[in-house]
């Protein structure tokens, strides 16, 4: 980021390649809407670009960018509190409309795989997504920050504005619930 601030465009390309997947998955899992996730994803990176002049390496870049993403999500939640995040939950709204078939159609998959393999992978991915969606928002947030962002307990605690022990407890609960939901896949 410092190199990009100094005018090196290639440094930003490297940085973007490193964080594009984790950041996108974090937003997609949190908001549950691929189109909205891409919109938020774009906004987060634009914020990063615009903040380059004032960037100071006070923390790891991953901590910084995931914190921006989280704040952007919170802003979106506040603006659309009646839609999010229940929209992603399988038991919310019309069960037929938000059923597994609709969610399956929205999940991206590599094109080189056979339809059967793709179908199987999509099923597993769907189950993981559903298990994540079933978690409370705070626990899902902590789990995604740990898995996608690679943040430590202290960094997650700082990003979520809560104590370290609270973060630790949330993460433990999240892991326990996920293990329980995905027991047959492990």
């Amino acid at each position: 980021m410092l190199a990009y601030r100094a005018g090196d465009a290639d440094a930003f390309t490297t940085l973007y390649g490193r964080y594009r997947g984790p950041l996108h998955r974090y937003l997609a899992r949190q908001c549950g809407n691929p189109t909205l996730a891409e919109e938020l994803y774009h906004e987060v990176w634009i914020k990063v670009i615009n903040a380059r002049a004032n960037y100071e390496p006070l923390a790891r870049f991953s901590t910084w960018i995931f914190r921006i993403a989280r704040h952007r999500l919170i802003d979106h939640y506040r603006q659309h509190a009646h839609q999010l995040p229940l929209q992603f939950a399988p038991h919310a709204g019309d069960p037929a409309a938000d059923g597994p078939e609709d969610l399956l159609a929205t999940l991206p998959a590599p094109s080189h795989e056979t339809p059967h393999a793709v179908h199987e992978r999509q099923q597993v991915a769907e189950r993981i997504s559903l298990a994540l969606a079933a978690l409370p928002a705070a626990q899902r947030d902590v789990f995604l920050l740990a898995e996608e962002g690679g943040l430590t307990l202290e960094e997650i605690a700082a990003a979520t504005d809560c104590g370290r022990e609270t973060t630790k407890s949330r993460l433990r609960y999240a892991l326990s619930k996920l293990r329980h939901s995905l027991q047959d896949l492990l």
């Binding site: 594009r20 597993v124 898995e147 430590t152 630790k168 892991l175």
Partner: protein, 271 residues
Amino acid sequence: MTEPLQDFPSDPPLSRLYRQFATDEPSQAIDERILAAAKAALGAGERSPGADRGRWWRRWRTPLALATTLVLTLTLSLLQQPPPGDGFVPAVPGPQVAPAPAAAPPAKFADPEARPAAAVAPPSPARTAGALSDRQAETRQQSRPASTGVGERDREVKSESVAERVSSAAAKPAPPATEPAATRSERTDVAPAVAGTVTGNRSEAPLAAAPGRVPAAALAKSRAQAVRTASVWLDEIRALRREGNLQEAERQLREFRREYPDYPLPEDLRP
């Protein structure tokens, strides 16, 4: 260091499963949009007005400083140069050599380059020595009553010290007659060189010869008078008479007689 990692709740099989199937990524279109925005932001930052001003100043500050210094130096050197006419008196042929006023700068004839060809023509060494001795004697009699010859006043402008140094230079043995003319002319030019005139720098001669600074008005008047010789002045008086401007002609004639009391008036101008 390892304590926080041990403290960190983890489930490696669950993490492995999650990472195996969490492969969704943003579309290529949004990648291109973000990368283009990043490059555009860099370009906009480089083209900001402040950066343009900085680049302009960094590019032009050295040439501007050099040009300013050059202009300042030229202006100062032009201001230090004497105005045209200083140190230059047109030659008057024949015995009626233009008498210069006593206030004229001593370097008037000192510059050999400014002297007309007739005046610069090098005399023989023997004649030079004799003439310089005469000049020294005349210079010492500056306070004598006005009964001397016509061309003496221009010689009186030389200071006594200058004349003495010139005479000492002239008292040296005369070079042989077979010596090249160029060498002789160089030796005859010793006088102006000794008189304090630095060749090629006319402005230093008056300063070196005069102990104090001459007022600017007196200096300008003496310069104007130096340019207008006696014969030219008389021609102007004749022209005024021909034009019928008798009062002005009479006034000019009175002024001429006051300026040149020893100058013999021509027949047509005598009262």
